[in-house]
């Protein structure tokens, strides 16, 4: 049971990483790409960490794997804001999608 749940979570994680990367390639400007990376990749990482934690040999290893997620989350949230702020300071105007 745990095996299947773990496999499903790992697959879901891979799917969200894939979707985030597609978004990074497809979306039109820096701001929309940040949305894709911050949200989809973090969900992907959460799924992967949880899936691996389910297979861990001990509680300490499982907790360590789960700890990766909030740390990466905090880092990516801060970096996402830093990049968006810098882009804004440089005067990069967001793509609006309706021919301005």
């Amino acid at each position: 049971m745990t095996e299947y749940l773990s496999a499903a979570l790992l697959l879901a994680g891979g799917f969200f990483f894939f979707a985030g990367t597609v978004g990074l390639l497809r979306f039109p400007d820096v701001y929309t790409r940040l949305h894709a990376l911050a949200k989809a990749d973090n969900l992907g990482l959460g799924c992967v960490a949880l899936g691996l934690a389910l297979q861990a040999d001990s509680v300490a290893v499982a907790l360590k794997l789960l700890l990766v997620w909030p740390l990466a989350l905090a880092a990516s949230a801060c970096v996402g804001y830093a990049i968006a702020r810098r882009a804004d300071a440089l005067g990069i105007r967001p793509w609006r999608g309706d021919g301005q």
């Binding site: 979707a19 497809r26 979306f27 701001y31 949200k39 290893v61 360590k64 949230a77």
Partner: protein, 160 residues
């Protein structure tokens, strides 16, 4: 005051010890270095954020974590759908929301956490106004920001 200080130190030391135990993956051979790391972390944390200065509410924390997990799940699913659907296009816009949160940690948490919620990304925090980039202007970004703000106010124990 003194009791709060001692309590704060004990809780933090226990939390750092737990963290080190996790990093060691439950083995028992790294506690010499661990003692140094623990002391350094404790000193730094007391220096950066003295106990008793700001208190987090436990129920507020539970509410925030639940809200955050659920909404970041939605955010990930939403952006994945937008990226993968062949004809889907984002409809972005910039907007500004006023912040009722006190300056410092609550506003910083708001600014960074909102980037992980569905459809919103913090662009610039200026005083008590936060500029947001919205991925799809048909979605209720302002309501989302309001909800997050209420959660953070509860987390930091502000009566609202």
């Amino acid at each position: 005051m003194r009791r709060a200080l001692i309590g704060g130190v004990v809780v933090r030391a226990a939390a750092f010890a737990l963290l080190w135990w996790m990093l060691l993956e439950g083995r028992n051979d790294g506690w010499g270095l661990g003692a140094i790391a623990l002391a350094a972390a404790l000193l730094l944390s007391l220096r950066l954020s003295p106990p008793g200065e700001r208190s987090l509410s436990p129920t507020g924390l539970a509410g925030f974590v639940a809200f955050f997990l659920w909404h970041s799940l939605q955010g990930g699913v939403q952006v994945a759908a937008l990226a993968l659907r062949p004809r889907a296009r984002p409809l972005p816009e910039l907007l500004e929301v006023p912040l009722a949160l006190p300056p410092g940690a609550p506003r910083v948490l708001m600014t960074t956490a909102i980037g992980l919620l569905p459809g919103t990304l913090g662009v610039c925090l200026e005083g008590d106004r936060l500029r947001l980039h919205v991925l799809d202007r048909r979605l209720p970004a302002v309501a989302e920001a309001e909800a997050l703000q209420r959660r953070i106010a509860c987390l930091f124990g502000a009566a609202r």
